[in-house]
């Protein structure tokens, strides 16, 4: 087992915001079982802010902790702010990830960004 920080272990054992929102405003999926990690983020948007965010994750301890952390970081942020969340920030908020687990941190922000892009594409299509 890799050396995980206490923060990673805390998010892994008590992940926040698990689930899938019904009729989400935006949805983003990344990863696949071959690489070992999959994440699906759903968001509700109100007044250009992420009002609610939930995710489902198939993956290792780091992947679960990353998705939990990303959901916490994104909640309440404006879409522009949320788009600026970087993988590096997520890893920092988790007090670091083991070297060979850094790729897991990439998935979290990517899935969130995809969900925001999905929402924006829908809004653009409607207007």
């Amino acid at each position: 087992m890799p050396e995980y920080s206490d923060k990673v272990m805390e998010h892994f054992t008590k992940p926040r915001n698990i689930g899938e929102l019904e009729n989400p405003d935006g949805m983003g999926e990344v990863g696949n079982p071959v690489c070992g990690d999959m994440m699906k983020f759903t968001i509700k948007v109100k007044d250009d802010r992420i009002e609610d965010v939930k995710y489902l994750t198939f993956g290792c301890g780091a992947a679960i902790a990353v998705s939990s952390m990303v959901s916490e970081m994104a909640k309440g942020k404006t879409l522009d702010e949320a788009m600026k969340i970087t993988n590096k920030q997520v890893a920092e908020e988790l007090n670091g990830l083991p070297g060979n687990k850094m790729h897991c941190s990439n998935l979290g922000a990517d899935a969130l960004h995809k969900a925001i892009e999905d929402y924006r594409a829908k809004v653009n299509a409607d207007s």
Partner: protein, 395 residues
């Protein structure tokens, strides 16, 4: 909290009798077995006694036993050592796709040095088909190396049949028997193998102890050159304490093989039954019957192995997994892939190996904990949610 080790393949405690046998050779009988004077006498006798005990466990001539520091080293001596000594006869080697990395990785190196290698496929249970071996052997084939049992899924290969195929074409046969020796009867003469690797730590001997059986007349080149220890096949002063430990472990294993195997199989079978009865969507990996008695390998659908392993560890239960996240190379198990196990199931694989401290009474606790952990992780798995949605639509 309960502490339940189900990962005895990774490491097991050294048997108390084995440890007692080893201790005097560190400071009391510290002599060098090669010495001409009397200090070397007891260590030299200890080496001989160990050689006889290891030979006894596998039905070999003691003179055919070469001590090594691991089964990995024994595998390297067998394959690289044989290839280098016999390359004038041909440069083709046949193996299987489910071998240990200590076979597969050295074959990659030999390929770079001009050898050609055929990796035989396996069926869904991990078995090599002797007909495939017959087809793979060419006039250039000098060596076949196929494991006796798989360390991850426990599948036992039909070595006798495979040897018969190789012998028909006069090809030398090596078997990596690290996962088999001490757990199923292994007799080099009955099997007909020319070389066999074993590891002491797989039957309660010390880590760092292994051996290679090399039948008389089979030529191998040493990996470590120097003095004439181990018939010149492995230079360096013998690690008498570890060898003595290996010998004692072999002696006890020969004596208790049946009893140990029965006890491990009884626990393993009860555990399997309990898990499959209580937890939906499990899959057995490996052969239902032809497997080493202490091995159970299952896949927990919809979830990933490292997350399972970590949560079980927090509940005091130690297991290992073939998921990519638990491997340093970040690749899921090559064994499960060769069996045709789909990627998501390979990711959710757990290897459970029974050992000396496992009790039938602990099975309900293990089952309860795995059921719990599986359900927590499934509830957050996109694959499980997808499956449930589809099941609802189909209902």
């Amino acid at each position: 909290m309960k502490k339940i080790n189900l990962d005895y393949t990774a490491a097991a405690p050294v048997d108390k009798e084995v440890l007692e046998k080893m201790i005097p050779f560190f400071s009391e009988y510290y002599g060098n077995p090669s010495s001409g004077h009397s200090l070397g006498e007891i260590p030299r006798k200890a080496l001989q006694e160990a050689r006889e005990n290891v030979a006894g466990l596998i039905g070999a001539d003691p003179a055919a036993i070469i001590f090594t520091a691991s089964a990995s080293e024994a595998n390297n001596l067998a394959v690289k050592g044989f290839a280098k000594a016999n390359m004038k006869k041909g440069k083709h080697i046949v193996t299987s796709s489910v071998e240990h990395f200590s076979i597969l990785n050295q074959l990659k190196t030999l390929k770079k040095e001009g050898f050609s290698v055929t990796e035989l496929p396996v069926d869904n249970y991990g078995l090599v088909n002797p007909a495939d071996l017959a087809e793979a052997i060419t006039d250039q084939t000098i060596l076949v190396s196929i494991q006796a049992a798989n360390p991850e899924i426990g599948t036992i290969q039909p070595i006798k049949e495979l040897v018969a195929v190789a012998k028909e074409r006069d090809v030398v046969f090596h078997t990596d028997a690290a996962a088999a020796v001490g757990w199923i009867p292994i007799d080099v003469q009955k099997l007909g193998v020319d070389m066999l690797s074993l590891a002491g730590d797989q039957f309660y001997g010390p880590k760092g102890s292994g051996a290679l059986f090399v039948k008389r007349g089979v030529r191998v080149m040493p990996l470590i050159e120097g003095g004439i220890q181990e018939k010149g096949l492995r230079a360096g002063t013998e690690n008498v304490a570890l060898v003595a430990g290996l010998g004692e472990a072999a002696r006890i294993a020969a004596e208790q093989l049946e009893e140990r195997a029965e006890k491990a199989a009884a626990f393993r079978d009860r555990l399997k039954e309990s898990l499959f009865n209580s937890i939906p969507h499990l899959q057995l990996n490996g052969h239902p019957e032809k497997r080493v008695p202490r091995n159970l390998n299952i896949s927990v659908s919809f979830v990933e192995g490292e997350a399972l392993l970590m949560r079980l560890d927090m509940a005091g239960i130690n297991v290992s997994s073939g998921s990519s996240c638990t491997s340093q190379a970040l690749k899921s198990s090559h064994v499960l892939t060769a069996l045709g196990v789909p990627p998501e199931l390979a990711q959710g694989s757990l290897q459970l190996t029974a050992g000396p401290d496992n009790k039938i009474e602990d099975i309900p606790y293990i089952t309860e904990q795995l059921a719990d952990v599986a359900s927590i992780l499934r509830n957050m798995s996109p694959l499980y949610h997808q499956y449930m949605k589809e099941a609802k639509q189909n209902a």
